[in-house]
């Protein structure tokens, strides 16, 4: 039986990705130009204004994005190279989305608790370790980080209700 990560159906082609990224670049360049124009993008009597360099930076981004867009469209017509296959994409998503949730967790329950839980769950679900081992690794990393930052280096990191209940 084929494992799910070996699934090699192409999800998206390289050309499509090229087009998407070029379009994003264009949008970003346009945004930069817009804001710089608002600030003043000309060359005043005492040198360039605040928006001068960013404006032309934005302009160059837009121009190169257009070129890349055209190249992408032409490539799309000729070759169909796959950017990523379904299996690997699933693997990437397995790391990326939990990581996003982890970052959200930092904001809610503080970095130490979130890290402990995140490491433990990662090990259980992706590494197939036992709950006991995973919990032990997660807890020791969380505790070590806590001692290192809060106690020794005295750098305050985001904390949640657990630390607060303990009086920090």
């Amino acid at each position: 039986m084929a494992r799910p990560e070996d699934d090699d159906t192409g999800v998206v082609s390289v050309a499509t990705m090229e087009i998407i990224v070029a379009a994003l670049f264009f949008a970003f360049g346009a945004l930069v130009m817009f804001d710089s124009y608002r600030l003043g993008a000309s060359w005043a009597s005492d040198g360039p204004e605040s928006g001068y360099f960013p404006f032309y930076t934005g302009l160059i981004i837009c121009v190169s994005a257009l070129v890349l867009l055209v190249q992408g469209l032409r490539q799309r017509a000729r070759v169909a190279l796959s950017f990523v296959e379904a299996g690997p994409l699933r693997q990437v998503a397995l790391v990326f989305f939990p990581a996003l949730i982890y970052v959200g967790g930092i904001q809610m329950v503080g970095i130490y608790v979130a890290s402990t839980v995140y490491i433990a769950l990662f090990m259980v679900f992706l590494g197939h370790y036992t709950w006991l081992r995973s919990g032990a690794v997660g807890l020791s990393v969380g505790l070590f980080a806590f001692l290192l930052f809060e106690r020794w280096f005295q750098i305050p990191l985001p904390k949640g209700f657990v630390e607060r209940a303990l009086g920090f």
Partner: protein
């Protein structure tokens, strides 16, 4: 109470939850200390954050870390105090954090002139939104020129600037902040023009002057004293209403006290920079009084006195109403100067 519970369930529970815990612990302390006054009872219950609305290594940062060192060395506080730099957007970041921490007694902030300048130019905060604790000292500004400059006095310097017709280069730290405000004040007082060139830090400005890349600066004493003693710079006048009180020789021939005020040298301008401590708004008087007392004890240490003398600070320290009065006036002066220069956002 109901509001705090509701908020505690939402994602942004931190401030209200904290307030709730603080309220709870205050209540506990109150019941335990029934009979004694609350004012004596408050003490920090956890680590206090000391916010510096500027980058590491600058004047405010140095002073904050020095205060932290004094507190630690002399055991003035049971909980620890940690310095956190939040210098983004000319300090707006740090001040906004304090503004948003309304009612949190475990945060204090050290201010420089950006309490007024950044507040006015970005329109995002005002000193009345914070609780003033105390003024620790005032930082002086001195008009410096390169030792090779032909100008021996402020009057000669102004003559020279007038003759150059706006081409004299004045170096300073940052844009639309204290150094540029002073430059604009001189321009107004003496009816001259300068080309103001902003740099990132005070030390850099002093070196640019020694290297002859700018013609004059308004550095703080501490930023320029090393170059003065080495014979690279010449002080012309100090922007305060009286001379600095330090009479010990700094160079072979001069002490800080020998520098005339700009007013007596014929340039009627003065400007001093606040080095003060604030708390977030909405803290109790007892909480404020704790830090007022703490800072008073800091100022009594010999280390502090030495620091103040070496940096040639104006040793004025104010608390309570006198401080509030000073702040009100300083804000209006800044508003006036900045409005005229067109830097106020509204």
């Amino acid at each position: 109470m109901e509001e705090s519970i509701r908020c505690a369930r939402s994602v942004h529970a931190r401030p209200s939850l904290r307030r709730w815990v603080t309220a709870l612990s205050t209540a506990l302390v109150f019941s335990a200390a029934a009979g004694t006054t609350l004012a004596q009872a408050w003490e920090p219950t956890r680590t206090v954050e000391f916010i510096v609305p500027a980058g590491t290594g600058g004047g405010a940062d140095q002073m904050a870390r020095f205060i932290q060192g004094i507190i630690q060395k002399n055991n003035l506080m049971k909980q620890s105090l940690i310095v956190v730099n939040k210098g983004g957007g000319a300090g707006a970041e740090g001040f906004l954090e304090v503004k948003n921490a309304k009612g949190d007694p475990h945060k204090i902030v050290i201010t420089l002139s950006n309490l007024f300048t950044t507040g006015l130019s970005t329109g995002t905060f005002d000193w009345t939104e914070f609780t003033p604790v105390s003024m620790m000292a005032l930082d002086q500004f001195v008009l410096w020129v390169n030792a090779k400059s032909p100008a021996k006095s402020a009057t000669e310097f102004i003559e020279q600037a007038r003759a150059a017709g706006g081409k004299m280069r004045m170096g300073g730290t940052g844009a639309r902040q204290e150094d540029q405000i002073i430059t604009v004040s001189i321009e107004r007082a003496a009816k001259v023009k300068f080309t103001y060139i902003p740099f990132k830090g005070g030390g850099e400005v002093a070196t640019q002057l020694v290297g002859g890349h700018v013609d004059s600066t308004v550095n703080n004493p501490i930023e320029a004293v090393a170059q003065w003693r080495a014979g690279g710079l010449r002080p012309l006048c100090v922007f305060d209403d009286e001379r600095m009180p330090y009479t010990a020789r700094v160079t072979d021939t001069m002490s800080w006290n020998d520098i005339p005020t700009c007013r007596e040298a014929g340039v009627p301008t003065d400007y001093v920079m606040l080095r003060g401590i604030f708390m977030p708004g909405g803290v109790t008087p007892a909480q404020r009084d704790y830090f007022v007392g703490l800072m008073r004890r800091v100022r009594e240490t010999p280390e502090w006195k030495r620091f103040i003398a070496e940096g040639a600070f104006n040793p004025t320290a104010l608390e309570g109403d006198a401080f509030v009065k000073w702040l009100t006036r300083a804000k209006e002066e800044h508003r006036g100067l900045m409005k005229e220069a067109g830097w106020v956002t509204k």
